[in-house]
Symmetry: C2
Subunit: 209 residues, 2 copies
């Protein structure tokens, strides 16, 4: 499948694991539980408990030429950032590509093992996307999260393909996806499918004028 859009620019995708009531993270986020207590298990168990059943989905999530993530997804705002925080993912993060981190404060790029480089961008979501497109070449650019970052890109009409992985869970509170993005009609581009742990939904997001 081509990653090119009709404009010749690389496709912008977004994969998010979401609760049935629209949350992608819970309250009470800590260093031990970055998504909030118990939320990792409830939203992402399909990835860990049955990776074979979702192998293609899991592959697609990290199959991009460049990534964009919010600063909150990269790491906590205080302390660790200044103390040489290098992300949640250990020495060899699963991205294997440039990851553009939306930051408030400048920081030198951080080169990790396996091809991942965290590059800190302080001039906004459109500048970050432009740089990610350049880095991705003809491959996909993936907006990796979190909720606030995805919502900003959706609101700006900059995501082409939204892939939601809906866990059979009502969280009741937390960080809400699809909030503040206005009114959008999407186009399903794959059959819904899943297991007892998750339902995969894939939509094309129409370009808005």
């Amino acid at each position: 499948m081509s990653t090119e859009t009709s404009t010749g620019m690389s496709k912008v995708t977004c994969d998010m694991a979401m609760s049935l009531d629209g949350f992608v993270a819970g309250p009470r986020q800590t260093l031990e539980n970055p998504l909030g207590e118990g939320v990792e298990e409830r939203l992402h168990s399909w990835m860990f408990d049955e990776p074979e059943a979702h192998a293609d989905v899991i592959h697609a999530i990290t199959d991009a030429g460049a990534f964009i993530m919010g600063r909150n997804m990269f790491g906590p705002d205080r302390g660790p950032w200044d103390l040489g925080w290098t992300g949640w993912w250990g020495e060899e993060p699963p991205y294997h590509a440039p990851v553009f981190v939306l930051a408030h404060r400048p920081r030198e790029p951080l080169t990790m093992k396996g091809g991942t480089t965290f590059i800190f961008v302080t001039d906004g979501i459109e500048a970050a996307l432009e740089r990610a497109r350049e880095a991705a070449g003809d491959r996909t650019v993936a907006v990796a999260g979190g909720a606030h970052t995805v919502n900003q890109y959706l609101a700006a009409g900059l995501i082409d393909e939204l892939r939601l992985h809906v866990a059979p869970v009502i969280l009741g509170q937390g960080e809400r996806l699809l909030a503040g993005v206005g009114s959008i009609d999407l186009e399903p581009i794959a059959e819904p499918r899943g297991t007892a742990l998750v339902t995969h939904l894939t939509y094309r997001v129409p370009r808005r004028s």
Copy 2:
């Protein structure tokens, strides 16, 4: 399939058409557009545009021995109620069974053509469910809506089977389903399926102690 639960009581189901961001109705509800302007078309087009593709789903929605609905779903609060309002559904509503309407003010039962009787219950959701169970016998009791009513029954742990019909639409605002119901782990009991207009998701809601 049996409609009996292990306790011998009839199963309580709930079918709701929902946007991807969790709304079942929009703002700006009027007599002409009871779900809000343009929302009927965006959430329910699958029922009207391709009824054959969803024949079993549509059949199941009204295949109950008794129904429960909120007063706001039955009709506007002012004016028409006092002027002999008989619901949105014409002389022969599609329920063909007793419909218990959660009301603030008492009103005589309203017998319509085709077996539908609207019965106004002023003593709360549990009393309404008890009466609906009696009326349904061994058939299903369906909580028909709207959002506030469904959320109340979910919060009280009184719904056994939640069937969501998710339209590929982000509404951005309106009446939110699954809000204020706490934290619940559901159990998918059917494969997700659908068309370009809707995805059907079916969950068992565990009884909570």
